[in-house]
């Protein structure tokens, strides 16, 4: 699914070595946590996967496709294969839950019929059938995050990337979000979660990648959150 080979990324303005000679492989259908202190390189890695940034050295392969070699006009199509969830939800405040999710389908040119068919299904997957007409401002943080997850999934991407999805949520809601991510994973989507939520990581017993100063210092199956 994802293969990262000896990737190095330096931001020229600050000369920060965000990633140094990083190599890691994630198979299809895995659930992987990505942990590390702020500035360890988690966000940079996510950006490389989404082709927002390009590695200075090494290769990022997604489904065998070298991300660096993507031409400008093929990048949007490539991004449709990756669902993204952010800490700050990034919903459109003036549109309803339904419209927010439908937006992701409209943007990629789905037919209105297909949209009417799929959006309610995704809403029920995240447990928000009865909130379809609410605006994001009327929802709790957890509900908003579930909307953004529904939006990430609506185009049925094989890979879901979540960047601190529980960063703005209380522990109980965080549990719900993680459960939902796990369920999505069981349905066949590969899930990569960058997080600071130590207890959750410890409890869920998934594969854990630990980054420190741009290097992969630990790769543990069913690992916990240990700082070396």
């Amino acid at each position: 699914m994802i293969e990262i080979r000896n990737v190095t990324k330096v931001y020229p303005q600050t000369e920060v070595h965000a990633l140094q000679n990083l190599s890691v492989k994630i198979e299809k259908g895995e659930f992987v946590f990505l942990i590390g202190a702020t500035g360890a390189g988690k966000s940079t890695l996510m950006k490389l996967l989404l082709r927002e940034e390009v590695a200075d050295d090494g290769q990022v392969l997604i489904n065998g496709q070298d991300v660096k070699k993507l031409r400008g006009r093929n990048i949007p199509k490539f991004r449709r294969g990756i669902g993204v969830v952010f800490q700050d939800f990034r919903l459109l405040p003036d549109r309803t839950v339904y419209e927010n999710i439908a937006f992701a389908m409209q943007v990629v040119g789905a037919s209105p019929r297909k949209i009417r068919h799929i959006v309610p299904q995704v809403l029920s997957l995240v447990g928000l059938e009865d909130k379809a007409d609410a605006k994001p401002g009327q929802l709790s943080g957890g509900e908003q995050q579930r909307v953004s997850m529904a939006r990430a999934l609506v185009n049925n991407p094989p890979l879901l990337i979540a960047d601190e999805p529980t960063g703005n949520l209380d522990p109980e809601t965080s549990d719900e979000i993680m459960e939902l991510l796990e369920r999505i994973n069981r349905l066949g989507t590969t899930v990569l979660v960058a997080t600071h939520a130590r207890e959750l990581v410890n409890r869920m017993q998934k594969r854990v990648l630990t980054l420190e100063k741009g290097r992969l210092i630990r790769d543990a199956e069913q690992g916990g959150y240990q700082l070396v």
Partner: protein, 277 residues
């Protein structure tokens, strides 16, 4: 900000319009003058009688001259009264008493190219005071129109650049205020044209609105000019200025074309600079 964009597009187009109208009218005058193919030969005041016959036959002997018409000073005053100053004849009373107006011959020349040659030969005929070659007039109008073209071009270029800059800024503000939406579109995989399209259309739309405003104001202004021109110079309206029907298609196409161009390039610059896809 949108209003400012439309306004500046309209302002630059109106300026362009003024220069273009001046050029169109000057060119019309040139072709009108050229069509006449005439050389005016003014005689010295003391020439009379047999001398006139001699001068006439000498003028007729110049190659390419097809006709020689005598035009006495009395006739000239009368004709001027009837045409340019119809209804205001009193203005020419003094002219009749003094002898400012001279007797003259009008030479009709077979082709425009020969007019300067005919003029220089006519000037050598004894008794001839001055030769007014229409080509001189054409050259003068041409010189004026060249200056108008130069000045107009540079001014217009400057204003068009300003207009583009302001449109680019308007679009930039739109991009910033909708950055959340643009961001979402990017990470759900909207194509570049899907994201850029609305902003391009907005820029082009501003350009078109500016062009329409400019059309309206310029035509209104020209209409008023035509009307006042006919009251100041009665009887001369036709040769003096082109009619509205003669100018509007050219002007409207130019305005729309440039307006769309300004909008397209202006929003394009902004999108290129600020919209990372």
């Amino acid at each position: 900000m949108s209003a400012a964009s439309i306004g500046i597009v309209a302002a630059s187009l109106i300026l362009l319009g003024i220069f273009q109208l001046a050029l169109m009218n000057l060119n019309a005058w040139i072709s009108q003058v050229e069509q006449q193919c005439e050389v005016n030969v003014y005689l010295k005041n003391d020439v009379s009688g047999t001398n006139l016959n001699r001068i006439q036959s000498e003028l007729a002997g110049i190659p390419d001259v097809s006709a020689v018409t005598f035009f006495s000073k009395e006739e000239r005053v009368k004709r001027t009264k009837e045409t340019t100053y119809a209804g205001q004849e009193y203005m020419l009373e003094d002219l009749e008493k003094d002898n400012i107006v001279r007797d003259s011959y009008i030479l009709t020349v077979t082709q425009i190219a020969s007019t300067s040659q005919v003029a220089s030969l006519a000037a050598r005929v004894p008794g001839v005071d001055e030769v007014v070659n229409r080509q001189d007039l054409v050259d003068k109008i041409q010189a004026v129109s060249n200056v108008v073209r130069q000045v107009g071009l540079w001014l217009m270029l400057l204003l068009v650049l300003i207009a583009m800059f302001i449109i680019a800024n308007t679009i930039r503000i739109g991009l910033i205020s909708r950055s959340g939406e643009v961001d979402i579109m990017r990470f759900v995989g909207a194509s570049n044209s899907y994201i850029r399209g609305p902003f391009m259309i907005e820029g082009i739309f501003l350009g078109i609105l500016g062009a329409m405003l400019a059309c309206g104001l310029t035509f209104a202004g020209y209409f008023l000019l035509l009307r006042s021109a006919t009251t100041v110079f009665p009887g001369m309206e036709q040769p003096l200025l082109l009619s509205l029907e003669q100018i509007w298609p050219t002007l409207a196409t130019t305005f729309l074309g440039i307006g769309i161009g300004i909008g397209f390039i202006g929003s394009g610059i902004s999108i290129r600079k600020h919209l990372k896809v």
